[in-house]
């Protein structure tokens, strides 16, 4: 009987025994990311282990390296919250001098990347280090107890963006770090999601194989911070794609005129011109994504806030060069 090759290697670098919450979407992201990285290293250098990880302080850091234990089966270093990219720069430089073949993977959450780590990230990308920076985006400071970050989406409840008499929750649109990264004209930038693991693995492999810096922003769910059912992480992430909330795209060499948009699925109608996606008619309303998460619960009492969100999502897609139609739920 023919044995089917598994879609991604069975090797593990993010080992069982870490202390992440049940249903943690980011743990899934890191496990897939390191598997993909390993495959890329095997294909590129003939050595599946030819990588080291520099990680920013954050929930995935503290849950994976509680002395005297470690969840990491790859060489791994953590220094501080804002400097994973700078630490990775140093590791990469050292490897170069040691003649060690391979690539460095830097990992940071949305806080350590979009906010406090932004400067170090920009420096690392601009200096063209041979590093893949993976931003796992769970859309708030989950390590310190769910405070808003600049990557928190509009309308979301966090402990520092609470809805109240004068507030609908977070009142600023999400910062799109992938676009900022792409502005460095680096070889490869992508967004990904645990809602489409095959696409994520493919992109991580591509990122790991380019020569020079690459940036991948993966949305991953956080049942604690999103107040969502433990078992629904992947479903919620997929709904983010299918409703237009989370776009999947690739930008190579900073070419904003040639952004590769992945089809969202979920029945959306994709219109192309010359192979390029120019319009998407989404079939599922964003409410389907929002309603599974307690962090957006209050919005259903203020439907006009959801309309504001729709407008912001359209504006974001416009930056990507795509006209989108976002349906309202049927009455």
């Amino acid at each position: 009987m023919a044995v089917r090759k598994p879609p991604v290697t069975t090797r593990e670098y993010w080992a069982p025994g870490h202390a992440a919450c049940a249903g943690c979407g980011c743990a899934t992201a890191l496990r897939l990311a390191t598997k993909a990285f390993s495959e890329a290293m095997e294909e590129k250098y003939g050595d599946p282990n030819a990588f080291a990880i520099a990680q920013a302080t954050g929930c995935m850091e503290v849950v994976s390296a509680v002395f005297p234990y470690t969840a990491w089966k790859a060489p791994w270093v953590h220094v501080a919250f804002e400097n994973a990219a700078a630490v990775a720069s140093g590791v990469e430089a050292a490897w170069k001098k040691l003649g060690r073949k391979g690539k460095i993977l830097a990992i940071g959450g949305d806080g350590g990347t979009a906010d406090i780590g932004m400067q170090a990230l920009s420096g690392m990308l601009e200096r063209w280090h041979n590093v893949v920076y993976l931003m796992y985006d769970n859309e708030a400071y989950m390590n310190t107890g769910i405070q808003r970050s600049s990557s928190t989406p509009y309308g979301a409840w966090t402990t520092t963006s609470p809805p109240g008499k004068l507030s609908i929750g977070e009142d600023k649109p999400k910062k799109w770090v992938a676009l900022i990264a792409a502005a460095h004209q680096i070889p490869y930038v992508a967004t990904a999601s645990i809602g489409n693991p095959f696409d994520f693995v493919k992109k991580m492999k591509k990122a790991a194989k380019v020569d020079g810096p690459a940036f991948v922003q993966v949305q991953c769910t956080c049942p604690t911070g999103w107040k969502s059912p433990l078992e629904k992480g992947v479903e919620i992430a997929r709904l983010a794609i299918e409703t237009g909330v989370w776009p999947l795209f690739e930008i190579e060499n900073g070419d904003f005129h040639n952004i590769k948009i992945q089809s969202p699925g979920g029945g959306a109608k994709v219109k192309r011109e010359g192979g390029r996606v120019v319009a998407i008619e989404f079939k599922k309303p964003i409410e389907e994504y929002l309603k599974l998460q307690g962090r957006f619960k209050h919005l259903f009492k203020q439907p006009e806030a959801i309309d504001v969100m729709r407008e912001q999502i359209k504006a974001m897609w416009k930056v990507l060069g795509v006209d989108v139609t976002l349906p309202k739920p049927e009455e």
Binding site: P68, A86, G90, V91, E92
Partner: protein
């Protein structure tokens, strides 16, 4: 044959880095240390130094990249000063806690506000509790030598701590002096190839560095940094001795000058020691029994040597280019700690002077002497004295 060249301390520091052959250097320009990375980038550009030179976007990233490189198992170096060192502050603790033997050359400069690019020691003194070893150079030769010594001590298996070498802004960083550049072969023999003992990022033997420690383990980790500092006392003596054997220049944690029959011993660090020695000669000519002592090593604080020094004098007059607000200078606290339980001890008078690059003249030292003499004569004296203040501006 060793080469003699006339150079600034910044160049001497760059030469020291070249001789030490670090594999990774990460630096950001800051006055007065800018020439260090400039000179190093020339060495790298000319192929005279085979290193990766990372031109980072900030000092925070400079030290972060050094930590990354050192954690990956290579010798690393950087240079900075003042606000740049302050920007590194957070990561300095981490470098020591992770036991990474990084060496920083620091052009000692005042801290803002007001912004001031000139010399005092507030920058390195403010980092005295980070776990780093601290050396202070009196002249450009010492700047070069102490950097080599710092690498050797830092990388010793009994120590494995990062080290900083301070040399005074402009007084040394921008002043040319003849400096002997040791032979590369001799330096190679002295330092050897850096072999990481515990810090490496090698896929064939993956390890996890920089973990989280719960209360059950944190104190022990901090204690190992304490212990490493304690171990450094002996290692520094050994390295000083070896350095003297190989290169002929003698270093001591505390260097004394005309202290044998001194009643008042002035104590200082860095370039002020040069001025002070001349001042002592001047006092001796006048028949005043004064001596000088210079701390070459400030961390680990040379407690035993301070106790020995204290036995020689009735008054210790500390000349400090730093302030610990509401207490005095940092040396004042350290000397007090070293002597508090001694049965016989001299009076300690503290002088804060030369902040932000203000010249320290014989007139200033006369002012300090007068107060020290009050202490000597059993008269009332202020424990903490600001010397050379322009009262008309207050």
């Amino acid at each position: 044959m060793p080469m003699r060249k006339v150079m600034k301390a910044n160049e001497a520091a760059a030469w020291a880095a070249k001789l030490a052959k670090p594999k990774v250097i990460a630096a950001f320009p800051i006055t007065p240390s800018t020439l260090v990375p400039e000179k190093i980038s020339e060495f790298v550009a000319d192929g005279e130094l085979d290193a990766e030179f990372i031109k980072v976007e900030s000092e925070h990233s400079a030290i972060s990249a050094c930590v990354g490189a050192s954690a990956a198992g290579v010798r690393t170096f950087t240079a900075t000063a003042s606000q740049g060192l302050a920007l590194m502050h957070e990561i300095l603790f981490i470098a020591a806690g992770m036991r990474l033997p990084i060496v920083i050359a620091v052009g000692n400069r005042a801290l803002s506000a007001p912004i001031n690019i000139w010399n005092d020691w507030q920058d390195t003194i403010s980092e005295r509790d980070t776990g780093w070893l601290q050396f202070y150079a009196e002249n450009n030769q010492e700047a070069l030598d102490l950097i080599l010594i710092a690498f050797k001590v830092a990388e010793d298996e009994r120590v494995l701590l990062p080290a900083m070498v301070g040399f005074d802004a402009f007084i040394l960083t921008h002043t040319v002096e003849p400096v002997e550049i040791p032979d590369q072969e001799l330096v190679d023999e002295f330092l050897g190839e850096y072999e990481p003992k515990h810090a490496y990022l090698d896929p064939t033997r993956p390890i996890t560095q920089g973990t989280l420690a719960f209360p059950a383990h944190y104190m022990e980790a901090r204690y190992t940094v304490w212990q490493a500092n304690e171990n450094a006392r002996k290692v520094i003596d050994e390295v000083f001795e070896e350095f003297e054997k190989r290169f002929g220049r003698k270093y001591q944690k505390i260097e004394e000058y005309r202290t044998d029959d001194a009643e008042i011993i002035f104590v200082t660090m860095g370039s002020l020691a040069g001025t002070l020695k001349e001042y002592i000669d001047h006092l001796r000519e006048k028949g005043i029994k004064a001596g000088a002592a210079k701390l070459t090593v400030y961390r680990p604080f040379p407690i035993e040597e301070v106790r020995e020094l204290a036995k020689k004098a009735k008054v210790l007059a500390l000349l400090e280019k730093n302030v610990t607000f509401s207490v005095g200078g940092a040396l004042f606290q350290d000397f007090s700690r070293a002597l508090i339980n001694e049965s016989e001890k001299p009076k300690i008078v503290d002088f804060i002077l030369g902040l932000g690059g203000r010249d320290v003249t014989f007139k200033d030292l006369d002012e300090a002497l007068a107060i020290a003499q009050k202490a000597l004569n059993g008269e009332e004296f202020n424990e903490v004295n600001w010397i050379g203040l322009r009262k008309e501006l207050l």
